[in-house]
């Protein structure tokens, strides 16, 4: 299944489920679950960037947070750097946290407004290392240099920075403990387009410099195409397709991927007019009541009878190219 057999998986996720309970009625009884992530399996190989795309509310962010165990997951196994952390209690996870870090979506809200940049970046060092104050100071400056922030700003508070600068603080903070695996949860969604490119390039440079592995969550397909090695497409809590970047963008196997890719804006107006858009009808079903059979059967333009009955299996259709669709069964 490996496109490059030398690479070994750093992160292995198997059948990850994250269900949020719904309590309703007078007695606040447990009446159902929001199945935000419902049985997701994938690997992230060392040094690669796995892009995770999907529309709003499909469970991308929840998936990213669940992989880092920022939630207590419902079921499933997560193996990071050879350690199984799926069921580890939160307190025991703390020593493992340095290996896995996260860059958050909202650079404003994810930084404590009452801490200076210095203390934000330094705090993980205080907690997880035994460096002297001087060494920590050096490290903070080094990190600020690495993400392109002026050292003189170390004493300032987050509100004094622009969105792009704040995201750099967030990245420096994530890098402080030399992590191997970083989940980037829509790191560019809250940024200006001109700044997005800077931040993505910064992420790429850092990946090269420190040998990082990314899980890059985004709804921006062009950006994912730029940064990702492989791409996973999520729909309603499930991965519908997972393939190397070129293969996915050139020959999408799942009808949902096709529809998603057809929605990418085309900068060339002459091509734009010729593009045949696949417009999906209807809304995404509620993740608390996913349809029977294939999750996509309510909106799929190529829906068949079997789709409404049995759930398609997520399997390898070409080498390294996985998809879950009944259309692929016939061939």
């Amino acid at each position: 299944m490996l496109d490059n057999p030398v690479k070994k998986p750093l992160v292995k996720v198997r059948d990850l489920k994250m269900h949020f309970p719904i309590y309703s009625g007078f007695f606040q009884r447990h009446t159902g679950n929001v199945k935000a992530v419902d049985g997701v399996s994938f690997d992230v190989f060392e040094g690669e960037t796995l892009g995770l795309v999907g529309e709003s509310g499909c469970g991308k962010s929840t998936c990213g947070r669940a992989v880092l165990r920022l939630y207590d997951i419902t079921t499933g196994s997560i193996e990071i750097d050879g350690k199984e952390i799926g069921a580890t209690p939160q307190a025991d996870l703390r020593p493992i946290r340095p290996t896995m870090q996260m860059v958050f979506q909202d650079p404003q809200a994810s930084l404590n407004p009452r801490m200076t940049v210095q203390s934000i970046i330094q705090e993980p060092l205080d907690e997880h290392t035994k460096l002297s104050q001087k060494e920590k100071q050096e490290k903070v400056w080094e990190l600020m240099d690495a993400v392109g922030l002026n050292r003189r700003f170390a004493g300032r508070y987050p509100h004094a920075f622009s969105g792009g600068q704040r995201q750099r603080i967030g990245i420096a903070r994530a890098l402080a403990l030399n992590p191997k695996f970083i989940v980037c949860d829509e790191p560019i969604a809250a940024l200006d387009v001109s700044i997005q490119a800077q931040v993505v390039n910064l992420l790429e440079d850092l990946q090269e410099k420190y040998g990082l592995t990314y899980l890059f969550i985004s709804h921006d397909l062009s950006m994912v195409r730029h940064i990702a090695t492989r791409v996973a497409v999520m729909y309603l809590g499930k991965i519908v397709e997972l393939a190397p970047r070129e293969a996915l963008y050139a020959s999408p196997q799942h009808p949902y991927t096709e529809a998603l890719l057809s929605a990418v804006p085309e900068p060339d107006p002459s091509l734009e007019s010729r593009a045949d858009r696949i417009i999906l009808q209807g809304d995404v079903p509620s993740p608390s009541k996913p349809p029977k059979g294939c999750n996509f059967c309510t909106r799929c333009p190529k829906v068949m009878d079997i789709c409404k009955e049995t759930e398609p299996e997520f399997k390898e259709v070409k080498p390294g190219h996985f998809a879950a669709c009944h259309l692929l069964d016939k061939s």
Partner: protein
Amino acid sequence: MLTYTIRRLILAIPTLLFIALVIFLLLELAPGDPMAEMPLTIPPEVKERMREALGLGQPWYIRFYLWLYQFFVVEPQYWIDALFGTNLADGAQRIISFQSRSPVFDTIAERIPQTLWVVGMSYVVGVIIALPIGIISAYRQYSWFDNLGTFISMVGFSVPTFFTGVLLIVIFSVNLGWFPSIYDTTLVVNDWSSFLMQLRQMAMPVFVLALYNAAQISRFMRASMLDNLGQDYVRTARAKGMRERVVVLKHVLRNSLIPVVTVIALGVPQVFGGAIITEQVFKVNGLGQLLIIAIHGNDVPMILTLTFIFAVLIVIFNLIADVLYGFLDPRIRYD
């Protein structure tokens, strides 16, 4: 920050003068007569002379000006004289109570210790118990602890102090006989047993007021903690691998304290105002009770002086709250 404080203090002067004028005019317009409680046998012309002796014959603006002069010039002179043994005041007329004919500030000075001890202590106790309750309630939202805390705050906030006070007296003084129902001001604390006695007589009024204060402040604390617990930076702190204690106490609590500190600071003037009802119930002769008596007797100089002092305290503590805000929240800078 200093410039800001000075500017605010200077701006407070016209505000306070206006407040003084409003209080004065309110008392002026209010029906009632300081002579009303004098025996009816006193002939009207004698009553008129007594009124003039109190200075009531002058037009209101003269009386207002004289009161201001006495409050801001004469009284401070007397304080300086008392402190340094000088003779600045030189026997000038002080603000005299209509009822007791003694200087208003002497009476206030006699009353302040009781109020500070009982009401102040209740405020301190209230804050001390409210903060942990608020923090734990928010951290374990909807747990049995939170539900119990919510219930107790609701009771503490909605049941008036004249009811809880009397209820406590019935239970603990009348039936159980643990605590005295009347606060004895003449008690001198000079040894261990008199100290215990002082504690026992303070226990019930302090408890009644502390319950009321704690109910309010714990709600603020809880709401503020809940606001911050859901913030993204808390998730960041957890992702950093910080201990839960650090996450809650360092990240969440410090951010949550900003509004709570303001609420606590704004509540302090009420301490000086005394708890009028509670002081009545437990016969604590503090400032609250003094104000009630003064209002009963149409003692205009006393009411005016007391209410004006409360106004000054409120203005000052508003300023303190604002300055604290600036210290606690780096996003707020006044200069």
